[in-house]
Structures are given as structure tokens and as C-alpha cells.
């Protein structure tokens, strides 16, 4: 990437906005290069390679905001973007809580956060293709029942984020990312099942080996073969790390500042109260070097930080940006997140459940009759009420052992009860993305089947 004038361009956008009548302004510029190679049945299926960049601007006139974005970074494109944002401030309503962070809140974490690695940029195309080929081949070669595949893929992304505001903040950081995945299909008789395994890393050297990715993906698809419905019943439900991570997504929505001030969350108004089992501690940490949820500053120019959300079951903090913090009479947690345009929303850093002592095997062994969930589909979670109902697949647990595959069932309950009923948390915490959870068991949920 060679666009060294971009920080200057962001600063210039701010100057133009102020000259056009804005009292305050924020400008985001992002630039990215993407590459992806897909292999299917050992042949190249597609290659994609390109780059793009775009700018976004948000301005305030009094307490009225207006936003605009453009992919045209020419002087004319920028001029039009500034005019568009100014024009829109005329139709919004004055909002007493609108505004930028105070100057004293702005800043960035010092030091190298290891978000960018040159080893990804240096990979040659044939090598990238070979990685995807090896991952898929490892899955196809794992077992004769792996007879088909949706492929293997290797993707990279190199990005650059620039943020400037009229309170004097100008910051930028680069990111890199690579991922390697295999999506095999297992078949036996009438049963056909797909699963996947993916490894993602900010540096190439940290990626899992293609042979391991293919082998794990194949094992996951194979163990689903012959899945059947079970009787409707209430039983303990064990979430493996991948499905347990989805519970963090639900918790995130419930502690999201916007849900909280609208009282659209079952956790609104519960700060300081015990809302979960004592063994549940949930942390959001955007400061750990090298991880996916890490950044030097949030999308309002506030330094990233570590925030305890649940401490031994007690609700300690919500995730807030400047706006929601002001609405609630609190301080921002440095959790502002936004695309190019509009008011800042809220995002999380590395959001995780603290690990416990038991091994995952001993968590499964603690269940006499229950359901080990390996896949959840659908969007049946209502954080307003906590009602939880999702499609599920996995393995039935009989006398502490994984016994037979289950599919086409639902698991249902209410998040309020589910959080209170987290019984055991295992030690297998791994940061594979920006959320991470160990294996855990919830004492009772309704499994809907026959």
C-alpha cells in the first residue's frame, strides 16, 4: 500500500468541514487489499485479488449531526462528501447527548500491538493456492466417506485505518489477516453432512497447518453422519467452544449500550446485581497484542482497554461509546465501532469467558443424559426478553460419553436462566477469533425434537 497522503487527506476533510460551517467533525479513511483462493475437488475454483479505499465523514452543527461517505477520494469527491454531510445536518434533530469525546479522553495505546505482519504481504500466489489445496486434500484423504467437498480456501486481507477528528486526534494503524479453511462433505447411505474448520491469524506463521485443518474438518463432518431427532426433553446442554462463543454474542447484545439505554435488554438496570452463575466471568479486552479484537484506539479515537463485564456472575460493566455513556451518565469503555458512515455504534474487542479448571472431557463426563451442541443455526434469540430458541445439531451424551449424532432439533430456554445455570466451565479456552469461550455446560434446557 502506497497511499501515504491518506492521513493528510483525513486532516484536510476535517478542515474543509469546519470551513463549511461544522462545529465538529470526524473522518474515517480505510484502505484494504484482499486476496482469496478457492480450491474444490483439488482444482482451482476461483482466484480474486483487488484493493479499494473509501472515506467517511460525520459532522456536527450545534447538536445536529450529518454523515456522508464516498469511494471517490479525488478533490471533487471529497468536496461533495463534505457538502453532503453538511446538508444532512439540516434535517436531523438536535440531540442533547450528541458530540465527540472530550479531548482528555482521546488517545491510543502505545507500543506495537502486532496487528500487522509483513509475512502475509510477502506470500506468493502459488503458495497461497497450495495451502488451500493441502487443507482440502487433507480432508478428502481423511476417510473414504469424505467423497465431496465445498472446498478449501485461503484468504488474506491487508488493511489500513485512519481516523481524525476536530479535537486534534489523528491516528492510524495497519492490520493483516489470513485464514485457511476446509469444508468437506461426508456421505454414508442417505445421510450427507457438511462441516468446516478454519484457522485465522494476523501473521502467517501463527496459522494452523493445512493438514490439521483438513483432518479436523473431516472429523467434524464424519461425526455428524446418521444424525437423528431425539424425543423432546429437558436435559443438561454442553456447548463446545465454537457454540459457547455464540453465547458471548448474545451477552454482547445484552450489554450493548444502545440496548441498555433503550431498556431493550434483559440486563438493563442490573449493574452490580448477580445475573449469572458464580463461575462465569466475562471480559472484553482490546489490548492483547496480536489478537483479532485488538486495536490501539476505538472508532472515536478513545484508547482501547480491558473491561470486566461479568465478574463471578455479577454484572460489572456495559460496553459503551461516548454517546451511550452520556445517555447513561457513565464513561465510555472505548467500545465505539463504526463503518464509514453514520454515528458510532458499539463493538467488542476480544470478548471471552474466563477458563475453568476441568478438562472438556470431564465436563462431558459429568453429564449422565444430555446434549453436546456442535452447531447452532438461526437467529432465535431475543435480548429484550432473554428468550432463546435456536436450531441445533450435535451429539447425544449417554452416561458421560458422546454416544450418537443428533440433528434437526431445537434448544430453548431463557438467557436469564441459562446464565444462572452455567454449571461447569472447562479449561480449553483458545482465541481463534474476536470471541472465545471454553466448553461449558448449562444445567437444563429444553431440547425440542419428536
Amino acid at each position: 500500500m502506497s497511499s501515504n497522503h491518506l492521513p493528510e487527506l483525513a486532516a484536510d476533510c476535517i478542515r474543509q468541514a469546519l470551513a463549511a460551517g461544522a462545529a465538529d467533525a470526524e473522518c474515517t479513511i480505510s484502505e484494504g487489499e484482499e486476496f482469496s483462493a478457492n480450491i474444490r475437488m483439488r482444482e482451482v475454483e476461483s482466484l480474486k485479488e483487488s484493493g479499494s479505499r473509501a472515506a467517511g465523514l460525520r459532522i456536527l452543527i450545534g447538536k445536529n449531526t450529518g454523515s456522508a461517505y464516498t469511494s471517490d477520494l479525488s478533490p471533487e469527491g471529497i468536496r461533495q462528501m463534505v457538502a453532503a454531510a453538511i446538508e444532512l445536518a439540516k434535517i436531523t434533530t438536535a440531540d442533547p447527548h450528541a458530540g465527540l469525546p472530550d479531548a482528555g479522553e482521546l488517545g491510543a495505546i502505545p507500543g506495537d500491538l502486532r496487528l500487522y505482519s509483513e509475512d502475509i504481504a510477502q506470500l506468493e500466489t502459488p503458495r497461497k493456492i497450495e495451502l488451500a489445496r493441502e487443507a482440502e486434500a487433507a480432508a478428502l484423504d481423511a476417510d473414504p466417506r469424505i467423497s465431496n467437498s465445498e472446498g478449501g480456501s485461503f484468504d488474506t486481507h491487508l488493511g489500513r485505518n485512519i481516523f481524525a477528528n476536530s479535537r486534534g486526534f489523528l491516528g492510524e494503524y495497519r492490520t493483516s489477516y489470513c485464514s485457511l479453511a476446509a469444508v468437506p462433505i461426508a456421505r454414508e447411505g442417505e445421510s450427507m453432512e457438511r462441516d468446516y474448520w478454519v484457522s485465522m491469524a494476523r501473521r502467517f506463521a501463527a496459522l494452523e497447518l493445512p493438514a490439521d485443518i483438513g483432518r479436523i474438518a473431516a472429523m467434524r463432518a464424519l461425526r455428524r453422519l446418521g444424525g437423528k431427532k431425539v424425543e423432546t426433553q429437558r436435559v443438561p446442554v454442553v456447548f463446545e467452544p465454537r457454540t459457547a462463543s455464540s453465547l458471548l454474542g448474545n451477552i454482547f447484545e445484552a450489554v450493548h449500550g444502545e440496548s441498555v439505554y433503550r431498556q431493550a435488554s434483559f440486563l438493563a438496570g442490573k449493574l452490580g446485581e448477580k445475573v449469572a452463575s458464580e463461575n462465569l466471568t466475562v471480559i472484553d479486552d482490546a489490548t492483547t497484542p496480536g489478537l483479532f479484537g485488538t486495536s490501539p484506539f476505538d472508532d472515536e479515537g478513545v484508547p482501547s482497554r480491558r473491561t470486566v463485564i461479568l465478574e463471578k456472575g455479577v454484572l460489572r460493566n456495559y460496553l459503551l461509546n461516548t454517546y451511550t455513556a452520556r445517555k447513561l451518565g457513565m464513561k465510555t469503555t472505548g467500545s465505539a465501532s463504526r463503518g464509514l458512515t453514520g454515528n458510532a455504534g458499539i463493538g467488542h474487542g476480544n470478548l471471552y469467558i474466563e477458563k475453568g479448571a476441568p478438562t472438556p472431557e470431564s465436563v462431558i463426563a459429568s453429564v449422565a443424559n444430555g446434549f453436546y451442541v456442535t452447531e447452532l443455526i438461526g437467529s432465535g434469540v431475543n435480548v429484550v426478553t432473554g428468550d432463546y430458541s435456536r436450531g441445533a445439531a450435535g451429539i447425544w451424551i449417554r452416561n458421560g460419553e458422546l454416544a450418537y449424532p443428533v440433528s434437526e432439533v431445537t434448544i430453548a430456554g431463557n438467557l436469564k436462566d441459562m446464565l444462572m445455570n452455567v454449571e461447569m466451565i472447562a479449561s480449553d479456552l483458545e482465541f481463534r477469533g474476536s470471541t472465545a469461550a471454553p466448553t461449558l455446560v448449562i444445567r437444563e434446557m429444553t431440547v425440542g425434537g419428536r
Binding site: V44, G66, N148, I185, Q263, S389, G391
Partner: protein, 482 residues
């Protein structure tokens, strides 16, 4: 039936605004095929968007923007090379063409493309796109929605309303000689409301709609009050909801948006890419019974002003009315250029992409079931005990196993043929090739949805429509807790 007229490229948006000529396009295609590709296409896109959002009776956000770019695709056998540029200068387009060209390795096989202007129809004859109207007019929509939802019932305590529109100008040129352009307006209003009584827990309701329409649609046909009252009504209904049943039961789906069942249960599984690769639960089942004889399922991209409609798909092929299932028998798949080339079939006008940055693939347009003969009231009366579902949040499918889910956001218990109590949100699950075999009654009341559907596949989102008459499904698993 809408008429077709001659397409004059020189009058098209990209010719006019960016000075792109037919010979420019032919030369970019030649660059794309310079390494021996079998087929190439160019997709130029100029997208203007705007949106405004109200929350707590305050218009908190208003935004507008522009993105411009071109995607170049080259097909060589079953391989695809793709590159794009957000800069429409000839050097940058040529560079993208040369990158995409590298999917093939050899001498050029096609030396020249002659682009032909085809015939053009307009399924959305929108003279002034909502995106081109005064902001002051559009922002009134969210203010009116707020007031109507709050006026509906004193128990409504939060309202959010968002109006969003866009205008997409596209130009598609292919080495098959197709030269197409289109102007695609799209607008949507959505409202969500929270209700609470006596300090109890809040409940949410959501409604919205729109299409490829003029702004007057939201003033005359479906005003903000229509959607706002529906959102508020759903929130209030939920205040008295009881736990949903768990396990297998009889389910009656109301007309319209519950057609999302078809989208998940059969639509995705019939996309030709999955079937060409034999990874769909529907692979190899053409001619087989996959639904009860009462079911005929259509995907139709040609319905006037609908959200899922297109004059041409994103590969330049005209959209069509395609029969997927006829009286329970599987008839056809949804094709794009690549899959139809490999399978030796005709494209069906279902090649779609999210933007110029994305490779097209087979997608649905407006997917619905034809009306049957039953009276909707009789269908409900026929059920001794079951669930009547009228609104859904969304769904998802695993196309390989065929297992799908969709989330009911407004449903009622049926007891002795009568609707009794509203029930809480619940997920319904089923298996694609099996679920529709249990359809035992189909109503005479086909409705299409209000126009809010967004379909996601492999990271790409496109607007779609669904529709269904009232139907009775004898057996389906409901994910409640009771």
C-alpha cells in the same frame, strides 16, 4: 405485461457520465480474455445510498454516500478469476482485467467481442427515484412512524424508525456479446417498537416494507402509519404471550412473510451451484416428489416494483418466472452463467451479486407458493391443536443436510380450531426435502411480503421477496419450552 423497448447505449448512465464507449468495453473484454479465458464480463456499478434514523423521537442520524467501481470476471473451464477497481480510469480497469485474466494460461482464444444492444423493459418505471427527492420529505416518514406507533397504545415506550433508499446504476458487458444497463431504485421503511405494562418486562414488535418504488408509495399506498401500527400491535400482543410448545406439532402459516419457509426449506437448496457440486440435499432430485401435490413453488424476478425484481440479473441476463416445484415435483434449479455453462442449461436470470466487489452466484429473486383452494378460516378450524404463525424474524439453512430453521416472532396457539393465546418467540426446524411433504391444505389467499427481505449467502447480501398463501403443515418441530 410490460413492453420491451430498444436499448440505446449512448444514452446510458455510464456512457453519459463517464464517457465509456462501446469500443472501450470491447477492448477491456479483450484484455480480460488475453490469457485464454472462455468467457468474461464487466460489471460497472454506481451506487448512491441514503438513510435516516429516528430513536426516542429524535432524528439521530442521517447519512448519504456514493460508491463506484467495476468488477471484471473471467471464466476458464470451471475456474473463475475476479478483480475489481474503485477507479474507472482506463488504466485501472485494464489492470483489473489483466489480473482476472490470469485464471487462464495460454494464448487468447477469442479475439474480438461485438457488443449488441438488446431490448429493454422496465419493471420499475420509477421516474424520480426516492434517492433523488428532497431529504425533508423523506425524513417526515420516520417522524410520522414514531408518532403513529406511540399513539397506537400508551404501553408503547420506545420507537425506532429507519428509512433507507438507494439508486444503483449498472452496466454489464459480456464476451457473449450482451450489453445491458439498468437503473435500480430501492427503498425501505422499517419500524420497531417496545411495549411494557405495569413495570413488567418489555416486548418488541417489528414491521417494515418497500420495494423498487416511487416515494409516493410511502405517502399513498403504504404510509408510515401502516408499518408503525403493525410494529406497535405486535409488541402489545407479545405482552400476553405464553411459552411456545416444544416438539412436533401441526403448524399453520399465515400468508405473506411466512413464505420465508420456502426461501429456507427449498430455495437455497435449489441454487444451481450447490447442485452442480452435488452438495445440496436436493442434488439429483429433478423429477422427484419433494413436496405434497398441493405445492407449486415459483421464483419470479419479473414482478413489477417488487424488492426482489430485476430487469436483468447482475450478469446481464433477463430475469424470468421459473417454476421450481410443480405440484410437488422438483422441476428446476436457479441458474447463473457459470453453472448453466457447466450443466449445459439455459441461464434463468438468477445470477446476482452484492456489489462490483463480488463474484456473482445463483440467488433467489421473489420466491412464493401458488394459491390453492382452501379457505384460510377452514384451515385454522381444521386443527385441533397446533400453532398459527404470522410473523417471522428470519431463517437459515444447512443446504447439505437440508435442515433449516426460521424464527416465529408472532404466533398463536390453535386449540379446537380456534386461535387462543399469543405465544413467545420460537424457532421452527425442519428438513428441506421432507418438510413440504406434510403440507395438507393450501389457502386461496396468496400474499407477497411487504418488501423487507435481505438474503445472505457466502457473505453477500441481496434484496429478495417471498410469498405464500395460508398453509397447513401437519408436522413440524417447534423450539419452545412448554
Amino acid at each position: 405485461m410490460l413492453g420491451w423497448s430498444y436499448m440505446a447505449f449512448s444514452e446510458s448512465f455510464f456512457a453519459h457520465r463517464f464517457g465509456i464507449t462501446r469500443s472501450d468495453l470491447e477492448s477491456y473484454l479483450a484484455d480480460a480474455l488475453s490469457r485464454g479465458g472462455d468467457y468474461a464480463d464487466l460489471y460497472f456499478e454506481y451506487l448512491s445510498t441514503s438513510s435516516m434514523s429516528l430513536d426516542e423521537s429524535i432524528v439521530k442520524s442521517a447519512t448519504q454516500g456514493v460508491s463506484v467501481g467495476v468488477g471484471v470476471r473471467v471464466i476458464a473451464g470451471e475456474r473463475t478469476g475476479y478483480a475489481y477497481s474503485d477507479d474507472l480510469s482506463p488504466e485501472k480497469i485494464r489492470k483489473a482485467a489483466k489480473v482476472a485474466a490470469c485464471i487462464a494460461a495460454g494464448p487468447a482464444k477469442i479475439d474480438k467481442t461485438s457488443l449488441e444492444e438488446g431490448m429493454r423493459r422496465n419493471l420499475y418505471p420509477v421516474l424520480v427515484s426516492p434517492n433523488e427527492t428532497a431529504f425533508a420529505e423523506r425524513v417526515e416518514l420516520v417522524k410520522r412512524a414514531d408518532k403513529a406507533a406511540r399513539d397506537y397504545d400508551s404501553r408503547i415506550f420506545q420507537v425506532q424508525a429507519t428509512y433507507a433508499d438507494n439508486l444503483r446504476q449498472v452496466l454489464i458487458a459480456t464476451s457473449g456479446g450482451v450489453l445491458s444497463y439498468d437503473r435500480q431504485p430501492l427503498a425501505r421503511l422499517s419500524v420497531s417498537a417496545l411495549a411494557r405494562q405495569n413495570g413488567g418486562p418489555p416486548q418488541r414488535g417489528h414491521a417494515g416494507g418497500g420495494g423498487r418504488v416511487e416515494l409516493s408509495y410511502f405517502l399513498d399506498e403504504k404510509p408510515p402509519e401502516y408499518f408503525a401500527v403493525d410494529a406497535a400491535r405486535q409488541a402489545v400482543v407479545q405482552l400476553d404471550a405464553v411459552e411456545a410448545p416444544a416438539g412436533e406439532t401441526t403448524v399453520v402459516l399465515g400468508p405473506g412473510w411466512p413464505g420465508v419457509l420456502l426461501h429456507e426449506a427449498v430455495g437455497h437448496g435449489l441454487e444451481a451451484d450447490f447442485n452442480r457440486k452435488q452438495v445440496s440435499a436436493f442434488s439429483g432430485r429433478i423429477g422427484q416428489q419433494v413436496a405434497s401435490p398441493l405445492c407449486t413453488v415459483i421464483d419470479d424476478g419479473t414482478i413489477r416494483n417488487r424488492r426482489g425484481s430485476l430487469n436483468v440479473d447482475d450478469e446481464g441476463n433477463p430475469t424470468a418466472r421459473n417454476v421450481l416445484i410443480e405440484k410437488g415435483i422438483l422441476r428446476g434449479y436457479l441458474q447463473d452463467q457459470l453453472s448453466s455453462r457447466i450443466l449445459g442449461e439455459q441461464p434463468t436470470g438468477n445470477g446476482r451479486r452484492e456489489s462490483y466487489e463480488h463474484i456473482p452466484m445463483p440467488r433467489m429473486t421473489n420466491t412464493f407458493m401458488l394459491a390453492g383452494e382452501s379457505d384460510p378460516g377452514d384451515i385454522i378450524r381444521s386443527v385441533p391443536r397446533g400453532l398459527y404463525c404470522v410473523n417471522f424474524g428470519g431463517g437459515q439453512v444447512d443446504i447439505t443436510s437440508g435442515n433449516f430453521v426460521f424464527s416465529a416472532s408472532e404466533s398463536y396457539l390453535i386449540e379446537d380450531g380456534k386461535l387462543t393465546r399469543p405465544v413467545r418467540n420460537a424457532t421452527l426446524v425442519g428438513n428441506g426435502p421432507e418438510a413440504l411433504k406434510y403440507v395438507s391444505m393450501v389457502g386461496n389467499d396468496l400474499q407477497l411480503d411487504e418488501g423487507i427481505g435481505i438474503c445472505g449467502k457466502e457473505g453477500q447480501s441481496v434484496p429478495v421477496g417471498v410469498g405464500i398463501p395460508t398453509i397447513r403443515v401437519d408436522r413440524m418441530t417447534v423450539g419452545g419450552t412448554a
